[in-house]
Amino acid sequence: MDTGLHDAFYNMALDEAIAVARSRSLVPDTLRFFRWEPSAVSIGYFQGMDEEVDTNACDKRGIGYVRRRTGGGAVYHDRDGELTYSMFLIQSHRLVSADFQESYGTLCSGIVNGLRLLGVQAEFKPINDIVVGGRKVSGNAQTRGLNVVHQHGTILLKVDPMLMFAVLKVPNEKIRDKMIKSVEERVTSLRAVLGRDVGFDELKSALLRGFEASFGIRLAPGVLTEFEAQKAEELKAEKYSRREWNYRR
């Protein structure tokens, strides 16, 4: 399913809501696509908000910020430059291994496959990245709980390192330019690889086919259940929009 454009708090709340719904067998294994409006920064579970994010710059620009339920690094989710996905599998699913590293490889293979259908020579790079010619085009993160494996990740359609570093903290101003350069060397996007703009619909349909082929499954369109929608609002209000959560580290 595609849940469209939402703010950072809701997006992360809905991820947890779907995981809860899956754990209670209220919904089947699920693949969700979504985007961020306004653009936002998400930080990993173990990161410090003030260590990673220039929240003043975010506030000035109307950019959101939120802590994820997964580990990993800080990510700038541009409204128009990035597609995010989440997948939810019951832990006993044949695609899930007890070994996290192995599961990353298996679950990311759907994305790798989808990107190859677009003509992008993508490869999985442990621990949790997908790269093209050594440059990262997708970052992924997994969590497990309540007997559900939840993996979410991003695919970059276009990238603006200057904006990225306008909202992420840099150790000091002197190295800002250097860091922007280093991101230009380490990160790429579908636009940079293919030399053309890839639309969201085109990317989603390639990814769907990639997942189906890699996993040997058939995906069916779905909509949010009332439980998920309600749980998401509840988790947004009581967790993801709260300072206690976002600034807990």
Binding site: Y45, Q47, G71, G72, G73, A74, I127, R249
Partner: protein, 94 residues
């Protein structure tokens, strides 16, 4: 307060903020872009480390024992990286 960070080769980043009392940990905060499962174990780990001696081998053993006891999984960093970073933070605070 002492601070240190380590980028693990081929792995993730660990940052430590430390308040020490003599050669012991009073408070420690471990942040970074690593993975620990289940995630909420990080709070227990930090509590467990309180009062420990700032000795790299002993701290690494403590983290290892914690992970084993709780059947936790650490990805992108090793217990020894936490230990090393904590000791570095201790040294940075003088």
């Amino acid at each position: 307060m002492g601070k240190a960070q380590i980028k693990v080769e081929g792995g993730k980043l660990v940052k430590v903020q430390l308040e020490s009392e003599g050669d012991r940990i009073r408070e420690v905060r471990i942040t970074g872009d690593f993975f620990l499962h289940p995630e909420e174990m990080i709070d227990d780990l930090e509590k467990t480390l309180k009062g420990s001696k700032l000795d790299e081998d002993a701290l690494a053993d403590c983290v290892k024992a914690f992970i084993k006891k709780h059947e936790a999984v650490l990805l992108g960093v090793a217990p020894g990286d936490f230990a090393k970073c904590i000791v570095m933070a201790g040294e940075s605070s003088g």
